[in-house]
Point group: C2
Chain length 204, copies 2
DNA sequence: CGCTCGCCATGACAAATGTCAGAGCGTGCC
DNA sequence: GGCACGCTCTGACATTTGTCATGGCGAGCG
């Protein structure tokens, strides 16, 4: 038998992470060598233990799964990344693939299935959940330019234009223009519904 | 030895539910007799299997954990309810306690700890996560009147005043007054940050 | 080189929003 | 009965947004 697949598990919910570690550890050919509860911690653990596959939660404090994947790609190219997510937004999948992620699955899969997918990814193949893939394709590409997305992001927590302008180092008028065009492109009624729409599609 | 504690597990994320079932099943004195992936399903399963303790996720499709707990209280009074949640808002805890829930813990606890808490709850005691309890106490009661909360709720998805007024059967001016007073009470800068704050505290 | 496109800005106008004062009505409490 | 409080409304005002026209600048492309 070949040596077992070395895993890094990162999820801020101890309950899930622990349970997953126990379940995956039951498989003969898998071994959990490190666990992390945040993005930065996951990075540090990866450096220290050089896992074969990193199983990352999409939403974690510090840095989300995609950001961690990007850093990992640079610092530890031999490590395959598998993203696990609760509610999968189409855009996240795209960003994840762009970051070199090899697998993307929702938390609705069974542990048995996850183990199989880990093996698939470790073998050098990709695995994308079919339903999430379909969503991503039907959602299409983001029509927003980089700046529009950035400004929309800053508008997300209800900040007034003046504050957004300051934080983006832009003139207030420019901010309103970007906001306006983003709202038009998204077919929204105002900036706030635009933010919601963009979030739903994973474009921010 | 006494007979084992019969558990119902409800969580829409199969990965977590399955892993949890496996881990808790390892304990000698606990046995998982039913699993559910949604609120209604949890209710049906409880009716069918009469568990001693129901471990419910707070956020589930169909009906959330608190709603299920309320129904369970009426239909199966002997069943203790333990709520498990990802991100605990203070207001949720209050609603949960009002619904007769016996335990409330974040998903950051370990499975080992969860098993202990299940035993505590089954013994007839309560267990509330200390940190969540502290948050709930410091957050205090909602300063919003019923109407203010209702209007704020309707404003949540970025609808303009005219639409809120129509949906609440109020005059636009009244809606703006309620919104204004809610914003003042919450110390927010505008309606949208007010919505966010109210959500964080669990007041809407 | 001319064209398009994204980026950044200004100014002006209309519409929506936030704020304030005031006023009537009903309910509950002392 | 008097008082407080929540609910509802109106009108007026300042501020904030949303929209549009217009301009300059630089990068990429045929």
């Amino acid at each position: 038998m070949t040596s077992p697949v070395r895993l890094l598990l990162a999820d801020d919910e101890h309950l899930i992470r622990g349970a997953l570690a126990a379940l995956l550890g039951l498989e003969d050919d898998l071994v959990v060598v490190a666990e992390a509860a945040s993005g930065p911690e996951a990075l540090a653990m990866a450096q220290a233990h050089h896992p074969d596959v990193a199983v990352l939660d999409l939403q974690m404090p510090g840095a989300d799964g995609v950001k961690v994947a990007t850093s990992l790609r640079a610092e530890l190219p031999s490590c395959r990344v598998l993203i696990v997510t609760g509610h999968g937004r189409p855009g996240h999948l795209k960003r994840a693939l762009a970051a070199g992620v090899r697998g993307f699955v929702p938390k609705t899969v069974s542990a048995q299935r996850l183990a199989e997918i880990i093996r698939t990814v470790h073998a050098g193949n990709r695995y994308i959940d079919p339903e999430l893939a379909a969503d991503a394709i039907s959602a299409g590409d983001s029509p927003l330019t980089a700046r529009e997305a950035e400004v929309l992001e800053l508008a997300a927590d209800g900040a007034p234009v003046a504050e957004i302008a300051e934080r983006a180092a832009l003139s207030p008028g420019t901010v309103r223009n970007y906001l306006s065009s983003a709202v038009t492109k998204l077919g929204a009624e105002n900036r706030h519904t635009a933010v919601r729409l963009a979030r739903e599609r994973g474009w921010v």
